[in-house]
């Protein structure tokens, strides 16, 4: 690569940089400006490293690091491969954005324990990188668990009774599922195959079949609690007790995406699409995912708390990926990967907007938010764009993920699943669009629009009444909203980037 920076060094730095950042943030406890600057610097440095790795991969290179064995024969192993690079790029770029937002949010809100907040954030980021670049299942499991633990202090940030309760649910569900289901699944795979390395095309062919294979698959799907498949989704709404930047980043990008990313890796590199479809392994889990998808959407419709509604929307959107993996077709997997990216940009925008609305107006209930679009046009504009991406309207990124997923369904012959997606998309219009529409078209609560004589036009957005959140919070939201439109044009490129890893 370039002057002295070998790919191996860059790979090691992706884990070390956030770690060093965490230490420095701790050291700069008393100097809040310096501390925030270090956070931002670490984030920028990390995304530079990941981009360097991405370029290196595009140029045909690869990187791997092998460390000590966690248990005999199973080393901690890091490796660059397309799906991991997509996830790492996504997470590291969004970390920069969310750091800017956090600085604005935490300062404006005058939050307590900010140093701990930034330290845990950085550690969580290192763990996310570990998940993304894991070269075998045990490494992935290691960082997966550490990610749960490092985000726990963020969930209980406010240290109130409600936060403690949320923390219990969070740790309880995530650790229970991973210990009860994921760990046995991993050990089972190890005892069957004698390897846990991610191998192109999977490695279970001929090792397991019939109902046992379906059981193993179910163990992986339920065991990855971070993918929030019902009935193990309770932690996600509970985690909304955290400050909004945490909800935005960890519970819309890093943590939940680590979950579905794990599923994609297992589907592609452990089972392999051809094995999955030949054995019809995902039949049952397909229906579970479809149920989760529709049920979460319906629950989202009924939530009046904006963050909670977004949380349930996330559960539904994650089920898109689970469903895509269960379909056992190449295009289903591609759809899952594109969904991973598109949803991340969309959902992080929505959460940042929710936080901005709270900062500017103190409102958390959707029913109180009418008319706010007129005084916060940028926030609501970003919200609208991101909503469109979540729904899947072109030209936004979400359109591609739905497109590929539906092709995947058609490829594998499960046409009914196309219906499920259409239904879910329609329902998501119903829970997302009214918020933006009522924000723009209705007057503020307690005010009424004066009747206008016909033929005269009045701008709904009054300039003097602009009451936006701080620039540090609004600008990142607008940026990611714009990016989620941009992804529409990058969709095929992402698909083309990961396809070689999927096609045998």
């Amino acid at each position: 690569m370039m002057n002295g920076l070998t790919p191996e060094l860059a790979l090691a730095l992706t884990l070390l940089l956030p770690g060093i950042g965490a230490v420095l943030i701790g050291a700069a406890d008393r100097f809040s400006v310096l501390r925030d600057a270090i956070s931002l610097l670490a984030a920028t440095a990390l995304s530079t490293m990941v981009l360097a790795l991405l370029l290196n991969h595009l140029a045909g290179g690869s990187a791997q690091i092998q460390l000590t064995p966690l248990v005999q024969g199973l080393p901690i192993f890091l490796l660059t491969e397309p799906i991991g690079l997509v996830f790492a790029t996504l997470a590291s770029v969004l970390w920069v954005v969310i750091t800017v937002y956090s600085i604005g949010y935490m300062r404006k809100n005058d939050e307590p324990r900010q140093t701990r907040f930034y330290i845990c954030f950085a550690i969580a980021m290192a763990c996310t990188m570990g998940v993304a670049f894991a070269g075998n299942l045990i490494t992935l499991f290691l960082f997966y668990e550490l990610l749960t633990l490092s985000t726990y202090p963020l969930v209980v940030h406010y240290e109130t009774d409600a936060a403690r309760h949320a923390g219990r649910v969070y740790l309880g569900v995530l650790l229970s599922t991973s210990i009860l289901f994921l760990l046995p699944a991993i050990i089972w795979t190890w005892s069957l195959t004698g390897t846990l390395d991610f191998v192109k095309g999977g490695m279970l062919t001929g090792k397991i079949e019939g109902p046992q294979a379906a059981l193993l698959f179910a163990l992986y799907l339920f065991g990855t609690g971070k993918a929030a498949l019902m009935p193990f989704h309770r932690w996600l709404p509970a985690a909304m007790a955290a400050p909004t930047p945490v909800s935005a980043f960890l519970h819309a990008v890093a943590v939940v995406k680590a979950g579905v990313f794990t599923l994609l890796k297992v589907g592609v590199y452990i089972f392999g699409t051809s094995f999955l479809s030949a054995m019809n392994v995902g039949e049952w889990m397909m229906w579970v995912s479809a149920f989760s998808l529709i049920a979460a959407t319906i629950v989202a419709l009924r939530k009046d708390d904006l963050k909670l509604r977004l949380a349930y929307s996330t559960i539904a959107q994650l089920a898109y990926v689970t469903l895509g993996v269960s379909l056992a077709s190449v295009m289903g997997m591609v759809g899952g990967i594109v969904q991973l990216v598109a949803h991340a940009f969309g959902k992080i925008t929505l959460f940042m907007c929710a936080g901005a609305i709270y900062l500017a107006s103190g409102k958390t209930k959707i029913s109180d938010m009418r008319g706010l679009g007129r005084v916060m046009p940028f926030t609501f504009g970003a919200f609208l764009l991101a909503s469109l991406s979540i729904i899947g309207v072109p030209p936004t990124g979400g359109a591609w993920s739905k497109w590929f997923l539906m092709i995947g369904a058609a490829e594998s012959g499960h046409l009914v699943m196309i219906g499920v997606w259409i239904l879910a998309s329609l329902l998501s219009i119903a829970y997302l669009i009214p918020l933006a529409a009522r924000g723009f078209f209705l007057p503020l609560t307690g005010q009424e629009d004066r009747p206008q004589p016909q033929g005269q036009e009045v701008s709904l957005i009054g300039k003097p009444g602009l009451q936006e959140a701080p620039l540090w919070c609004v600008a990142p939201a607008c940026l990611t909203a714009a990016l989620s439109v941009l992804i529409y044009f990058a969709g095929p490129a992402i698909a083309g980037f990961v396809l070689p890893a999927l096609r045998p």
Binding site: V71, E159, L183, I187
Partner: protein, 502 residues
């Protein structure tokens, strides 16, 4: 010269130091003597282990009398591995004791306390080293009797220690009696007390009723010492009311030594190939192990005293040992031995952390942990790491234990057992969660002036905590050692002299 007699010096030096401690009169000097003895034993155990791995078996004849007539100390990979566990935990606890013991025991009793510590320590090393079944009983009694006294010494701060010690004494004595009765039956049958010799002689006697009765008495006797469910009744009170150092020492070593004795009996003296033993392993140990894991963990959930909580957790862990034993294959045995080592490290570190809290707050109720996350950051972070290890989070030793236990269960094809193992470890999440939540998320009581524990206590605590992490990240050493130990246990006839061979 020393190297040649190291096997016996290892045991005798602490024993000789015991009376020296009485004569020392000044607590500091007694402490110095005791610590020096444990450090010597620690170094010795590493040398012995290296020798045992090289030579296969070290056979030391006491007084030059050849076995099976004389007493033989017989060290292979298995018991030299246990020697390391015992002397490691012993050394760490002694160093930790310098500041902790004066706080809990009045100074006139301290030399006696160190005397008892030395006797207990040398008893455990003796049980581990000896190749003679009756000699094992003798050392078992030395270590048991001294540990009753050690538990009773907790009476300085809490008089309930006396009843705890009395219960422990009663049940411990019953256990020892059962063991020696069983040994009597075996002796009647075989005419020998050398364990390797017994193993050779009973090979063709699997139908003998005498053998069955002897076996039953021995297993129940050791079971009482090991506190296998439902023979655990002495343990919670003894651990709760004993001085902190004693609890840490007993939790890390005494059950491990008893487990070693059990393994020696089950796998070397008797053999899982004997039909009645196979039945016992499958129909008694497996269900008892599972019950222990769940019942004890659930009871631990409801404890308001952290020491008692950890004690119940220890009983639950002895359930895992039973499970590993009941698999009756090399994988299960390896897992048991790995877990034996790992559990010694993590449980001792947890008890040492609680000891630090007792040192500063004078109490170990969950309520007294409130707010300690800020006030005693080093102690509590060690406690958290120990707790995570008990839960089995990867990169800690607990994960390695769990991995091998589940793997062994899968090797046998015992699905529900594999699932039960992980489910049981999950219960640890809930009982440790309560303590950790209190420490970090609840405000400390008004006007409490608690500060961090002294370095002399934190250093040994963190030595264990760091090894808990280091051996969790790289388990190569423990696992390969445990595998060698398991192989040694399963090869009773290796290295026997010609006149004793099968």
């Amino acid at each position: 010269m020393i190297r040649q007699h190291l096997a016996i010096l290892q045991v005798m030096l602490p024993m000789l130091c015991a009376p020296l401690c009485v004569f020392a009169r000044r607590p500091v000097i007694a402490w110095l003597i005791a610590t020096a003895a444990t450090l010597f034993a620690l170094a010795g155990s590493f040398i012995l282990f290296a020798q045992a791995l090289n030579a296969g078996v070290i056979s030391y004849h006491l007084g030059g009398w050849a076995p099976p007539w004389g007493i033989e100390f017989r060290l292979d990979a298995a018991n030299s591995f246990v020697l390391i566990i015992v002397s490691l935990v012993g050394a760490v606890c002694m160093i930790y004791g310098r500041d902790s013991i004066p706080r809990e025991i009045k100074s006139s009793d301290q030399p006696l306390f160190y005397t008892m510590m030395m006797l207990c320590f040398s008893g455990m090393l003796g049980v581990t080293s000896t190749g003679d079944a009756f000699n094992l009983f003798v050392f078992l009694e030395i270590f048991s009797l001294s540990s009753y006294v050690l538990v009773a010494m907790g009476a300085g701060s809490d008089r309930r220690a006396l009843t705890a010690a009395f219960t422990y004494l009663l049940l411990g004595t019953i256990g020892a009696t059962f063991f020696v009765i069983g040994l009597g039956f075996i002796y009647v049958l075989t005419g020998t007390l050398n364990m390797a010799d017994i193993a050779v002689r009973i090979a063709g006697m699997s139908g003998s009723g005498t053998l069955h009765v002897g076996f039953a008495f021995i297993i129940v006797g050791i079971g009482l010492k090991l506190a296998i469910f439902p023979l655990h009744l002495w343990l919670p009170n003894a651990y709760t009311h004993a001085p902190s150092v004693v609890t840490a020492l007993l939790a890390g070593t005494s059950t491990k030594v008893a487990l070693y004795a059990l393994l020696r009996m089950l796998y070397t003296v008797f053999s899982p190939d004997l039909p009645f033993e196979a039945l016992i392993l499958h129909y008694l140990f497996l269900p008892l192990g599972l019950t222990a894991v769940f019942v004890a963990s659930i009871i631990a959930l409801f404890q308001s005293d952290v020491k008692r909580l950890l004690a119940w957790s220890s009983i639950a862990q002895s359930g895992y040992f039973l499970l590993g034993v009941s698999f009756a294959n090399i994988g299960g045995l390896t897992a048991t031995l790995v877990h034996m080592f790992n559990h010694a490290i993590m449980k001792s570190s947890l008890f040492l952390a609680v000891g630090c809290v007792v040192y500063r707050t004078g109490s170990c109720s969950v309520a007294s942990f409130r707010g300690l996350g800020q006030k005693m950051p080093w102690t509590m972070s060690a406690f958290v790491i120990g707790g995570l290890s008990m839960i089995g989070v990867p990169a800690t030793v607990g994960f390695v234990s769990k991995w091998y236990l589940v793997l062994a269960a899968l090797e046998r094809g015992w699905w529900p057992v594999a699932f039960a193992i992980v489910a049981g470890s999950l219960l640890a999440l809930f009982y440790f969660g309560r303590v950790i939540e209190a420490a970090y998320l609840q405000p400390s009581p008004e006007n409490s002036a608690v500060t961090e524990a002294p370095v002399s206590m934190l250093a040994p605590l963190w030595a264990l905590t760091i090894s808990c992490l280091a051996l969790g990240i790289n388990s190569e050493l423990t696992v390969s050692t445990a595998r060698a130990a398991a192989e040694a246990l399963l090869a009773p006839h290796a290295g026997l002299p010609a006149h004793m061979g099968p």
